[in-house]
């Protein structure tokens, strides 16, 4: 297509005549180049690196083909990281979606009432999302602190726990502590997207449903939920992509420990690449993560497309 259109360049009366398509490519060119430089080039470089064994400190740099990937399949630590990542993703994304939906419905009710507290509620809800992850992770690290942390103090004062719980030091608690922090931080994002979605549902549909005899639950199940499905899927896509790549939240809280119990794929890749400097193998890990995220989002996109087609 491009060749054909570009071949249509003709010189007439000293001015250059390009087809509309050719002009289009010309104007889009800078954007293409920018995307190529900042996205495609690094991805290609990482893919190339993942086919090599590169250990700069030993001066090793050789092409090894798919050997790094074969090694991945036998690497228990890789599979553990996969499991941790998926566990973290499923737990945090579903909690964020449910809580986000709850907040969105609450905020939507508030704004229907026209209450003056609405703006205040908006600000309060968006605040956790506005704080940089590293900062909020550090805040939570202090809350979780076993000896002086607020969480243990409150639980003890309320008589719920006897002794201190080492939230981040106990392998069973640590990943959940990270999930809670992530949910706290990113529920606002889900809530705001869903709130925007709720606002697009015409109020008249609810009036019609009420007259038709639908109660609150039926209205939610038959009207709100199906009409919000595209937004729900978009929330899922965004949140899943983020959760699969989670790094800073977990790294600041636990650094992947205790043991490797909270080590997600990105933490494992980071450690392999930058702490042990195995550039080849680390790149293979990063590629695996990329593939996982791509597969998940492909799944969502297919779901979304089917849904859009159904309702179109």
């Amino acid at each position: 297509m491009t060749e054909r259109s570009l071949a249509e360049i003709k010189k007439q009366n000293g001015t250059i005549h390009l087809s509309e398509r050719a002009w289009g490519y010309l104007f889009a060119g800078p954007a293409f180049i920018l995307v190529g430089l900042i996205a495609l080039a690094p991805i290609t470089a990482a893919l190339w690196l993942s086919l090599r064994q590169q250990l700069p400190i030993f001066g090793i740099d050789a092409f090894v083909g798919f050997q790094n990937y074969l090694q991945l399949f036998e690497d228990d630590r890789f599979w553990a990281a996969c499991r941790t990542t998926l566990y973290f993703t499923v737990l945090s994304v579903s909690a964020e979606l449910l809580l986000g939906f709850g907040f969105a419905l609450l905020l939507s009710r508030l704004s229907d009432g026209g209450g003056g507290g609405l703006r205040w509620a908006h600000v309060m809800i968006i605040l956790p999302w506005a704080i940089p992850t590293v900062v909020s992770a550090q805040i939570w690290a202090w809350l979780y602190q076993p000896d002086y942390g607020l969480l243990n103090y409150l639980l003890y004062a309320a008589g719920i726990t006897e002794g201190r719980i080492d939230w981040l030091g106990d392998p069973d608690w640590a990943i959940h502590a990270a999930v809670v922090m992530d949910v706290w931080k990113t529920t606002p994002f889900a809530a705001l997207l869903l709130l925007a979605g709720l606002k697009t549902v015409p109020q008249e549909l609810y009036a019609a449903a009420r007259v038709d005899g639908a109660g609150t639950w039926e209205q939610f199940r038959r009207i709100t939920l199906p009409l919000l499905m595209p937004v729900v899927l978009i929330v899922l896509v965004f949140r899943t992509m983020d959760a699969v790549r989670v790094f800073d939240a977990v790294f600041v809280l636990t650094g992947g420990g205790p043991g490797n119990s909270t080590e997600t794929l990105s933490i494992y890749a980071y450690k392999t690449l930058f702490q042990t400097l195995q550039f080849g193998y680390g790149s293979a890990l990063a590629t695996a993560m990329f593939v996982l995220a791509a597969l998940l989002s492909l799944l969502y996109v297919l779901l979304l497309r089917r849904h859009v087609q159904e309702s179109a």
């Binding site: 008249e204 009036a207 007259v211 005899g213 199906p226 309702s311």
Partner: protein
């Protein structure tokens, strides 16, 4: 089916009165039309009847039972919205089945029975071929029928229609009017129909109530209202083109409206001499003919300002001028075969006209007829 009684029903939001106290009875099985300009409170009244909105004061009774505090679902009322409010994500079948499918499980019909009902109503409305479409794949008229179907499927006690035809083109509107009348004749459900279009009100209603600023101006059969509007608002609102309303003075046996002498009808109410009245003349009673120069009794000259052909009749707006009074315009009908042009000099007469007399201060009709 139900008789609907509205007693001193009132709606205020804060200090603002949306609907001043209103009392009204709609008979069982009647097609009742609420007509009035936008903002007259008719849609509010409909919301109150459907139970979507709560009144500030007053009662609503269906067949003598107080339903004022009941939820919409407990009232057994169906409402057709101006925008139809079809559920966009559902097919026509699902839309129409919706009222039946949200009934509490204990009272809900079996699936096959619901499907039967959908088929029955769809057949009735000519929607059988469209059951698997979604609202956006339908034309305006089809959507309208789906909205009707969704309202009818439950066999409601009361059928409320909020300007259901206003989004349709003129041709379709006329045929849907006929359809609505047919439906009503067959189903005999008490129907309250809200519109701002007086033509709809005149053609559809068994009875109608003209509303202005939340107050009932007149209730009656369309013909009675047309023949004897109770006040200046109804006179000006009902009928197209609107009634000519002229300021006039009573003199002996005639009525002097600007340059125009109108014969005072014998049945006219006795009002004191020299009293100022507002006289109303239906445009179809005013005849516009060519100027022949003769100074006939009850005939006045004027200049054509606007002509408006409408089927067999040609409405002519004429500006009447008098040396000692300000100019005013009057709408009349062109004599058969006479086609005046703008700026033409014409003669206007109203020899056979029914004169409607109103008190200009109160706006009320003078006399019984």
């Amino acid at each position: 089916m139900a008789e609907v009684r509205i007693e001193q029903l009132e709606k205020r939001i804060g200090p603002k009165t949306i609907l001043p106290p209103l009392t009204l009875t709609v008979h069982d099985g009647e097609f009742f039309v609420l007509v009035g300009p936008s903002g007259c409170g008719k849609s509010t009244l409909l919301s109150l009847l459907a139970g979507l909105d709560q009144p500030t004061a007053g009662r609503i009774l269906f067949d003598g039972n107080d339903v004022t505090d009941l939820e919409p679902r407990e009232r057994d009322v169906a409402l057709v919205f101006q925008s139809y409010a079809l559920y966009p994500h559902m097919t026509v079948r699902e839309n129409m089945a919706f009222p039946l499918s949200v009934v509490p499980r204990a009272k809900r019909l079996e699936r096959p029975r619901i499907e039967e009902e959908v088929q029955r109503v769809a057949g009735f409305l000519g929607l059988s071929a469209l059951l698997d479409r979604r609202p956006r794949e339908l034309s305006g008229g089809q959507r309208q029928r789906v909205a009707l179907g969704r309202a009818l499927i439950r066999k409601p006690r009361l059928f409320l229609l909020d300007e259901p035809l206003s989004n349709l083109d003129a041709q379709l509107r006329a045929s849907m009017r006929a359809e609505l009348l047919r439906l009503h004749k067959e189903l005999k459900v008490t129907t309250i129909y809200v519109t701002h279009d007086q033509t709809e009100a005149m053609t559809l209603g068994d009875r109608l109530a003209a509303l202005n600023q939340g107050r009932v101006q007149q209730i009656g059969r369309p013909h009675d209202i047309y023949a004897a509007p109770a006040n200046l608002f109804v006179a000006g609102f009902m009928g197209y083109p609107p009634m000519n309303l002229l300021s006039a003075r009573l003199k002996n046996d005639s009525i002097q409206a600007g340059p125009w002498h109108l014969t005072k009808p014998p049945e006219a109410p006795t009002v004191s001499q020299e009293q100022t009245v507002t006289v109303g003349l239906r445009p179809e009673d005013v005849v516009v003919g060519p100027a022949n120069g003769l100074d006939d009794e009850g005939v006045v000259c004027g200049i054509v300002r606007l002509t408006e052909p409408s089927g067999p009749t040609l409405w002519v707006t004429v500006e009447l001028n008098d040396l000692n009074s300000e100019a005013f315009t009057i709408i009349g009908t062109a004599q058969a075969g006479f086609v005046p042009k703008i700026e033409d000099r014409v003669e206007v007469s109203a020899l056979q006209a029914t004169l409607h007399l109103f008190d200009p201060m109160t706006g009320l009709r003078l006399g019984a007829s």
